[in-house]
Amino acid sequence: MSSVLRLYILVFILFLYAPTLLLPLFAFNDSTIIAFPLSGFTFKWFGVLWQEAGLQSAVTNSMIIATASSILATTLAMLASSASVRHTFPGKAPMMGFIMVPMFLPEIIVGVSLLTMLVLAGMPLSIYTIILGHTLICVPFCIAILRSSFQHLDPSMEEASLDLGETRATTFRRITLPLIVPGVISSLLIAFTISLDEFVIAFFLSGTEPTLPVYIWSQLRFPKKIPSIMALGTVLLVVSVCLLSLSEVIRRRNARRLGLDHKPGV
């Protein structure tokens, strides 16, 4: 039984990683056709990327959007997590449930409803509208991370600081923030990665300034551009994996520090 399960997990992982493993394969393949058999090894598709005029502005747009949305989403998620973990108040469960809804809605619904509101309000589409949309869908993910930071925060630390005459603001800056900083960094990184890769909402809300995924989408129509898009995908994969590994290392170091070693059934 156990060996069957082991074999299954091997096939499962292979299936899960199939596209991820093919991506770099075609990025370094010296052929304009994305198919087997592979030709020689080349770096030229990465070189081609540098000459793409549209790419640079798309990268800049995506960086601005991802940075702004991750900061906004993390700030909002900190407020919501602090309220839900440390305080009791009427309507807490429905309000928190409502804030988490974007996680479960199809992105196209979020996209078209935001588009409808912006059009009716006469607001032009821009990178600011994408920032708002991305912040909305990132908040639930950030809450999922930050709730655990607040759960492991000892309230007596803050009480001690307040008793010793510090203001709320100073207490937050000097006591609370340093204690939850690993969670905050993880939350920023996750939100940044989600925003960087988000396509559907950006596609509906982008005006004349495309984000990176919107740019990729526009290029996928041209077979000639595919190899350099594969190279771009490889770069993005490396960036995402680095950011997430960083977030994971921070999370684990913090878990070890707080002695939260994980046991099932507890």
């Binding site: 039984m1 082991r6 299954y8 997990i9 499962f12 299936f15 899960l16 199939a18 596209p19 991820t20 093919l22 991506l23 075609f26 198919a35 087997f36 058999p37 909002l76 309220a83 305080h87 009791t88 108040f89 807490k92 309000m95 409502f98 804030i99 809804v101 974007p102 479960f104 809605l105 199809p106 992105e107 196209i108 619904i109 979020v110 078209v112 409803s113 588009l115 509101m117 009716l120 909305l136 908040v139 890769d197 396509f199 559907v200 509906f204 995924p213 990729i216 996928l220 594969m230 995908g233 993005l236 994969l237 995402s240 994996v241 997430l244 994971e248 994980h262 046991k263 099932p264 059934g265």
Partner: protein
């Protein structure tokens, strides 16, 4: 009102108002839009059910709606079936010290660019693709198979792949909560491994299965990149039509009615599913 209550309310009010403004208000407006009608370039604001009549009676919308529902159901069932043994392996076979690494391992492929992942499935399933190439090398087939790309099967495979990590994680979390002494008790009392799985592990992991079902099923109906890239003409889904109405066809009211109808349909199916499984959700309170 004591201080903690006031503080809690003031803290939650900002993210709550943000979500009201950017989720509730747009949804209300989308709903209003669905009762208006597009009059060439302007929108007629008299309330009418015309869009819903069109969305629910015209064959093309019926076909797309039912097909989307069918594909979402198949994708959900397939994803859960594939994810369950993997979650079981992670929870019951992998040693505790390695579990965090496994969770990370499962989530990495998800961070390969969404568009690239779908495009790569097109490469895998294509005429000169990986599947055809390998089958021809082994000698199973002489000519490339043409039926594996640009149809509903390709959409199902690609979507299931995309949602796998989202299905594994909730099931894994539910399994981690199972008190291992229940399993020992079942086996001490003479249950075989198979029966203790069926009578202890499976029912206690059901909350995770239900959560995974909802997480996969509801958003799947809204995917339009996958059908567009790998679906071919017979694999298009309702989201492709919604996009068309909002963009090229310039009929946002009909698009809104289609979007809300699709949402209503999946929510109803999801509610029935949860109701049928209410037994499993109620028992979790005791464990």
């Amino acid at each position: 009102m004591n201080e903690s209550t006031a503080r809690g309310l003031s803290q939650i009010s900002i993210p709550f108002l943000f979500t009201m403004l950017l989720l509730a208000a747009p949804l209300v407006l989308l709903c209003a839009m669905s009762f208006w009608t597009q009059n060439f370039l302007t929108i007629d604001h008299t309330l009418s059910l015309a869009n819903y009549k069109q969305a629910w009676s015209e064959p093309i919308y019926q076909t797309l709606m039912l097909r989307s529902l069918k594909i979402s159901m198949i994708v959900t069932a397939l994803t859960i079936l594939l994810a369950y043994p993997a979650a079981y392996y992670m929870s019951f076979v992998v040693p505790n010290s390695r579990k965090a690494m496994w969770v990370f391992l499962i989530t990495i492929p998800f961070w390969t660019s969404y568009l690239m992942r779908i495009y790569l499935w097109k490469v895998i399933l294509g005429y000169n693709g990986v599947v055809n190439g390998s089958l021809m090398n082994v000698g199973v087939i002489a000519e490339p198979l043409e039926f594996i790309l640009y149809n509903q099967l390709a959409v199902v495979v690609t979507l299931s792949h995309a949602w796998l990590p989202f299905a594994v994680l909730p099931i894994f979390v539910a399994m981690e909560k199972i008190d291992r002494s229940y399993l020992e008790a079942a086996q001490d009392l003479g249950d075989s491994a198979f029966w203790s799985f069926l009578r202890v592990t499976l029912p206690l992991s059901m909350p995770g299965v239900i959560a995974a079902t909802l997480i996969v099923f509801v958003p799947t109906i809204g995917d339009y990149v996958t059908p567009k890239l790998v679906g071919g003409p017979d694999g298009l889904m309702i989201a492709n039509m919604i996009e068309l109405q909002f963009k090229k066809a310039n009929n946002a009211p009909l698009g809104a009615a289609l979007a809300l109808s699709a949402m209503l349909l999946v929510t109803a199916v999801a509610a029935i599913f949860v109701w049928l499984n209410r037994r499993h959700l109620l028992t979790t309170g005791r464990t």
